[in-house]
Amino acid sequence: MVPQAADIVRVLPEIIWCVFGVLLMLLQPYVKNRQVLTFFGMLGAALGTLSTFLGHMGSGFSGLIQFDIFSLFFHWLLGLVAFLVILAADSYLERENLPAAEFFALILFATAGMGVLASAQELLTAFIGLEMSSIASYVLAGYRRDSVKSSESAVKYFLLGSFATAFFLYGIALVYGATGSTNLVRIADADPGSNLLRLGLALILVGLGFKVAAAPFQVWTPDVYEGAPTPVTALFAAGPKAATFALLLRIFTTIHAATEFWFWAFWILAVVTMFVGNLGAIVQTSVKRMLAYSSIAHAGYTLVAFAAVRFLSTNSEIGPWPAYAAVLFYLLGYSLVKVGAFTIVSEIGGQGERHLTMDDFAGLGTRQPFAAAAMTVFLLSLLGMPITAGFFGKFYVFKAAIGSKLIWLAVLMTINSVIAAYYYLRVIVVMYMREHKGEMPADTALSLSPTAAMVVVVAVAATIYLGLFPNHILGIVLSQNLFASR
């Protein structure tokens, strides 16, 4: 069937992101000015995001993709993350003396892949999206070629990521074998009792669980996050995670077999992931690594809302909307905070990312009051203190969990929040209550670079805005036709 114009418009964001990626690579030999490239990258990210306004809701390419409020929301989220990461990377690339054009191009390619993931309605399309984002990510992880850690990060990510993709692909094959289709809507009608289908779904869950860093598939996360260039880590923590959660949620809600079968899987994954992430984070001395573990923990919190979906969709008249809203709101707040926090880590890290330990953050409250205050806001948001996005996200997840009578899950999440308080608080304590020991290294910047400061300001403003006035976003994520097809 020949694609129609409307179909093309529904993937316009991905097309624009890719086109700008290619253009950037073509421009590289001619444009020596890094700032022009940065601007160009940001323009691409922004135009792609804005182009979502042109698309009409509905499915495109004979049901391969589904363009609905759900995917619109994630396109916005991913576009915003890409925009901020490109802006934040500007000063980083200058400091590390790395070529800019390819970096931005890779970010745009990865974002396009994530966009496909967010709107995929068919498993092979999802696979293409996953590969697009993953391959760009592998390269980005190893972008600091002369650094051993960065290369290690890339190799680890690539090897383990390939395994996960293989699981995912095998899962698709089994599902196809069981149901004769890879289209989610058609799989939905299949017999939920089929063992082959269940096995396929289990393998898909393993593959996607890897991407969202859910324990026990999280082993790669700390090393990869730590080794990758910090702006890339910001992207990893926000973008692919949100996109994969989007796909997971779409599969989970569309296929009834998955709704039943994955419930306990999500329950257990959520608990294990929360504990592994939080207990791992406690013992870290590097702030970057600590934030990596914290992103594992946050995947666990998100999975709590996933577990709530089943009860709400079967046993209550309100329907599963609060649980969906919890996932979406949580991911939005979390992504913005992580981008902001990693931007600060990147700036404090200095050349060669040498200053990442807790001790390097000591006395930041007096040295760089702005950076310290912003970091405090981010950490408090991750911790879930009121008037931040993190609090409202957590509040919503709690609400969904308790609404579905998952009291134990809520209690375990509570215990985890308290454990988490310890390590987030430690950074705040170090920043404000300890003095820096010894001489300050000569290359430490006295303030954030202007571009990084812009990213931080946007992230702080968004964090507090979402914490104080969540009505607008709630209006979107609570929409009854989140998935337009139903």
């Binding site: 203190m385 009121p386 609400k399 609404g403 209690v411 929040s417 308080a421 608080l425 209550m433």
Partner: protein, 524 residues
Amino acid sequence: MELSGHLLSVVIFFPALGALALLFLRGDDALWIRRLAFVVSVAEFLLSLIMLRGVAIGAHGYSLVEYKPWINSPPINYHLGVDGISLFLVILTTFLTPLCVMASWKGIHHRIKEFHVMLLLLEVGIIGVFLSLDLFLFFLFWEVMLIPMAFLIGIWGHDRRIYAAVKFFIYTMFGSAFMLIGILWLYNLTTSLDLPTIQAYLQSNPAALSHRTEMLLFLSFFLAFAIKVPLFPLHTWLPDAHVEAPTAGSIILAGVLLKMGTYGMIRFCLPLFPDAAHRAAPAVAVLAIIGIIYGALVALVQPNLKKLVAYSSVSHLGFVVLGIFTFNAISMQGAVYQMLAHGISTGALFFLTGIIFDRRHTYEISEYGGLSTPMPKYAAFFLFVALASMGLPMLNGFVGEFLILLGTYQVHWTWASWAALGVILSACYLLWAYQRVFFGEVTHTKNKELPDTDSRELWGLLAFAVVILWMGIGSPFFTHRIAAPVDTVIEQTKPHFAEEAARPAARPAVRSTSVVFDGRVVSR
């Protein structure tokens, strides 16, 4: 009244404006920072006094209510209101804050601007807690308040400040996280987060909560409050936080923060879950009595003056909890009164320990001795405050303790007799400490030349002393306003199971006597 439309919002957020103004001052301009903070906090105190006009004597329910939809789903409203109980707690807060600024005049030397900003933000959080009538809003202020307090301890405290700050934070957060689950669970059952709405709903549908659910909900709230009070055995954060906090932190902590716990019990635990509260009462009372005696005994053996005062708080707050959980109008009035009295007298005790710490930089009792020779004025004030704290008649501590014991005696004479032991012990530890610090020869040469209180300290102490005396002899001014809301709480706390007629025995009889000995009559 014109102002009344937004008076409560103004009272809550005025200190935040002050904090904002402070940010525009230069960080090294210590004098003006202190002056501005002082002016702002005094203005805030005067503002809060306007609330007195808005709360009619004998009024049931909330006055000066503000109601504005905030978040659509779940329906969260910006709902504020004040009654006789919260009224005085707010005024207590605004009264202590300027005194905190005064107490830090000499003790705080670095990051002065941030210190006062934190102090004012803390005031915002505390007042917000007392005035919120929406569970979400209440929880929000409850959590927000933690951050400036932890900073006050952690940045400007003494040697082990970081340990104390983190312990304080995590302890409180542990409790409040469970409270959040409780709030959401309650929302799930009643589809409202608005306190009066939930109350009305639960009153009219006594069967809405099963016994087990009600007990679990009660416990989830109670845990958060009990940690804050702190009720034995959850008190271990308190000595650390108190000893390590700067003087101003201790004053606010002991003066107001602990009352947030007892206030929460009165406002939430009892009226929302009356059956569970009644069933839990014996256990709570036992813990409270253990707290009273244990706190007093530990205070008795403290070599550290500040720790002594801290443990005396554990003991005194035990009285308050006991007074609340006897469900008797007199003892609950006494509990509210004791909350206020303890806020003033313990605030004053910490102010006093702060004064000698500024001079000698130690709290060890053994470092002092014979201080009444070099510092006669100081010694006189200390004695006055110590007597108030141990409950001497005509001073503020007496009224509350007397009412609590009187009310408790009518219900359970054994509880009252054990608790009375605490009164005796409090005289022991305070007088003994007083003797060791102030009487005898001056044993340390450093103490011989100690300057007596200067005019700033004198004015602060005078303010404390006036209020102590006034609360001792002018108690009707307070009890008149406290009585009606306390009666409301008692009315709401009537257990449903007692109405099921199966139990005509002890409890209803007790309530009828409590009407005869109504607190207003007694205190006159």
